[in-house]
Symmetry: C2
Subunit: 347 residues, 2 copies
């Protein structure tokens, strides 16, 4: 039996019992997890940043990773669902790229175990970046002389421009996208004035009513102790006896079931991060809820069978705002030039 | 009679006669022209940069100024024609934003006299950013608290968020987008090793065959002495007795005539810059020519009735590559947050 098939509450109880989840709320660790086969180097970060911002990774040269996961904002596009090539729309709201390095599984349904695997998805998704195959992506990137040189310098070897290496570079850049030093982190590091009385009330409340059974750990997205690739899932909506479920179409998408076809995974979702959540309206996998206070009400009712007072909602929202961190300064990348002819055909 | 209605060749002869165009080729002046009513300040540049990169200036939150005029690249989208909201396509290729501060008229047809006026166009163009009205733009920006504060700090007054001020901020950022210190500029400043022998041959050739009758001045886009708002136009194609005209659909668009409805303006175009031209394939107002060498052949034949040898084309292309300048380092802007609810409605 795999732990991920247990209800999250059972898993949490087990983790607490083993001491793995002794601290429900934690500041961000100083270092992000890094796979052994993809160490972070400065030149790889720079290459990854270029690829992340390069719309030439999409079939018609209009959509980059950053189009939907905007690092200049909270790491999303602030839309209910994203718009890909040709104005096509996906069915789920773009999750934030910020602090995604700390997640133990990627995508709303956790179907990618690593940032590397995640990066390979949207490029080939017909409603996102729409490239027809990994080979076409590789051929296009190889055809841009600046990229060919950079890949050689970063990865070495005879054939450095591969789809795997494209994903490795992008993932490496993403591992630098960490927002530290939020008021919450400063508070946890001993600055007791970093949180207002209201934020502190909200902080207590999310523990008391049970939000942090799932929104725990440094990213408020599950326990730290899970190995990379092991997602932390919860059923949503858990209680369906309320108007929110219909109003916000919360049961339309079967969630992780779409990946595993296991009945136990129906409506199971990777617990999303709370960090910078105040910047990333609209909310939930379908982006159906436009405001954070409504999202708090919905979650309390559907997951914890709790109806919050307006004052409680305000306290929790104030606490959630304290999870907005500092965004590291970055330089704009320079995209290697399209020399002489455009690699992007117009149709 | 307005000078802009004269054929460019007549105008050039007149300018040479008055000494206004004594130097056909010039390095970029140290300072960009700045309108008296819109002085450059650091905070206005930063605000303008945020707006320039902000897709919330488009109706569905998917297209920013930078989507088509990509400052991370050569200032264009490297596409034949740009793609706006809903996958809609325009009819002309995006001109580069780099060094546009030195142009005395904006757009391919020169219909905007200033960068401020230019900035107001695409936001409301239904096939570009698609906002329904200036009022809707202003209301959306006002609704983003961070912007409201910044406009107050930058522009002051009782009602600082106006469409005029949005355009002023964007234009101010664009005035910082100057690429200095190209090999050509270094050569003109005395470094005789900055250009290869081949580039120097190309440089002589473009004067000898007559390219620099129009591609003159520091931006290779017309004489410096023209007052702001006074565009420098040339008919294109001038000679229509060749296969290129049909092959590349060079006569399909009536150019400036579409603005003035004056028969003399049929197929008149603002002379585009040569700076960074090697980065900005495909070429011409309709983006019909994919490579720089072919663009050189077409121009020589249609404008100067000259058929170049392959060696001559290679020399000219090498010179044109020497006009790729240094791109100033910039920090990524932080876009003011959408707090609690998205201002961009999904349809």
């Amino acid at each position: 039996m795999h732990a991920r098939h247990l209800p999250a509450s059972t898993l949490v109880a087990a983790l607490f019992a083993t001491g793995l989840a002794a601290h429900a709320m934690e500041p961000l660790p100083a270092k992000v997890p890094v796979p052994a086969d993809n160490p972070i180097t400065a030149s790889k970060v720079e290459l990854g940043k270029e690829l992340y911002f390069d719309p030439r990774l999409s079939v018609d040269g209009t959509v980059s990773c950053n189009s939907c996961h905007n690092v200049m904002a909270g790491g999303t596009d602030n839309r209910p669902v994203s718009v890909g090539v040709g104005g096509k729309k996906g069915s789920r709201s773009a999750p934030t790229v910020w602090n995604s390095a700390y997640l133990t599984a990627q995508f709303w349904d956790g179907r990618a175990p690593t940032l590397e695997e995640q990066a390979k998805g949207p490029i080939l998704n017909p409603v996102e970046m729409g490239m027809p195959s990994a080979d076409v992506v590789v051929a296009r990137i190889k055809g841009i002389p600046g990229y060919a040189e950079e890949f050689k310098s970063v990865f070495g070897g005879k054939d450095p421009v591969t789809y795997d290496n494209i994903a490795k570079a992008i993932a490496t850049y993403e591992r630098t996208l960490v927002t530290r030093n939020s008021p919450f982190d400063r508070y946890m590091h001993g600055d007791k004035h970093a949180l207002s009385a209201q934020a502190q009330r909200g902080m207590k409340l999310v523990e008391q009513i049970g939000c942090t059974a799932c929104h725990m750990g440094p990213n408020f997205a599950g326990p730290t102790a899970l190995p990379m690739g092991q997602g932390f899932y919860q059923k949503f909506p858990l209680n369906t006896d309320n108007d929110y479920v219909k109003k916000y179409h919360l049961e339309d998408d079967l969630g992780r079931y779409q990946v595993t076809k296991n009945d136990n995974d129906k409506h199971m979702w990777r617990v999303p991060t709370w960090r910078n959540v105040a910047l990333n309206a609209p909310y939930f996998h379908n982006g159906s809820v436009p405001t954070l206070d409504e999202a708090v009400r919905v979650m309390a009712r559907t997951q914890l069978n709790t109806t919050l007072t307006d004052a409680q909602v305000a306290d929790i929202v104030t606490f959630l705002n304290s999870l907005t961190g500092e965004f590291p300064k970055q330089t704009l990348p320079r995209l290697p030039a399209t020399t002489g002819s455009s690699p992007v055909a117009d149709k």
